[in-house]
Homo-oligomer: 252 residues x 2
Amino acid sequence: MGIQVAVPETSSRVLSQEEFSARLESIGEERYHHRHPFHLLMHEGRLTPGQLQAWALNRYYYQSRVPMKDAIILSRSDDLEFRRAWRKRLLDQDGREGAGGLECWLKLAEATGLGRERVTSCAELLPGVRYAVDAYLALVERGTLLEAVASSLTELFATRLIAVRLDSLRRHYAWLSNALGYFEARLSQAPEDAQFAFNWVYQHARTRDEQELAVRALTRKCDLLWAQLDALYFAYVEPGWPPPGAFRREQD
Amino acid sequence: MGIQVAVPETSSRVLSQEEFSARLESIGEERYHHRHPFHLLMHEGRLTPGQLQAWALNRYYYQSRVPMKDAIILSRSDDLEFRRAWRKRLLDQDGREGAGGLECWLKLAEATGLGRERVTSCAELLPGVRYAVDAYLALVERGTLLEAVASSLTELFATRLIAVRLDSLRRHYAWLSNALGYFEARLSQAPEDAQFAFNWVYQHARTRDEQELAVRALTRKCDLLWAQLDALYFAYVEPGWPPPGAFRREQD
């Protein structure tokens, strides 16, 4: 991040591409969930097997809504070229001929020791996770298309996090090593997706107000990723009381 | 159509697959736009070149909304297998490597003598066409998923209409003969799509009330296809006054 970040937020000057990029990066640096204590525990190998199950089970709900979110975005664009580019995400997550991201996530959840039905039923979700994910769909459905696309820009920060995570999962949780296909695929998918979305947002945010709208959408997306981990941390790490009906650890 | 159609509408008995199919067929026979006077004129070669332009230009709006409609349906399903099947429509219309249905429709509009921008701008649409198409998106967005899927069942009747149309367009409007790729592709796509949708609707309409809901959704879809042709007929065939700003024929 360079000196460009120092553009005052109150200025109405349109940010250059470099300044806009630096602005988004600074949001990620401060707010992306790579900093969340739950992830820090994971990366240090300090989550128990049961806590990993809770994470895989709850985050499945997020994964299951990603293709629906992308279909909402598709449904809002009357630009054929945009749709042709964006639908890649749908294919990545739902799979082409073989398994996609969603199926890979299920494999990961199964590798933590959970049954498939138990995960896909979403019966034991934390309400806080559900609300945060549903808020994502609402943002994408009710915000402007610019906000919807900008909310995907957390992918700008995903690759670094996933590289760290792959390394620590392999090191600390060896029984998951053969079930990390989701993250391996995201290592190449996320940068491509992020690049397209960044270019589109930069082109379509033509005023400073629109640029700020995009920045706020990214901020809200960071918030809702963070809130999912808050719910997990509170219920399963400390002090540790999942609400009635939510997943309870049987192993640790 | 067999004797099965005679199931009284007031009965609460769930229709067998054969009865349900016959019920849908009877809706198509009565209400599908193959019977509309505008189409009858077209198939008899009695539409003027300008009237064909008006048709191609207005129906482009319908075509342009089809992938958005399908993305809405995708966004409403949390069933991976359903999404994987349904997304085929998105790929068909937006194109895979090459041109899809939407681009083929533009080629047809260009073959009628219209400039591409004039068509894609949708600036000269008949309001009645716009309202009918927008009502389709509203049905798919606000009805149940069953109604949304059932509204696609006009594809059950499409193949026969398209076969007739291809034949008459080639015979009566020879200058369009090299621009009929849209219809040629639909000859194989529509039956596949219709079969999938019919099976899904039959499986998911588990009560007679739900079956009737599906029948009504199909009826509404027939209505909105019909209404588009009403608007065209009124503005361009007889008595012939397109509203201010709408496409005006320059050739005939």
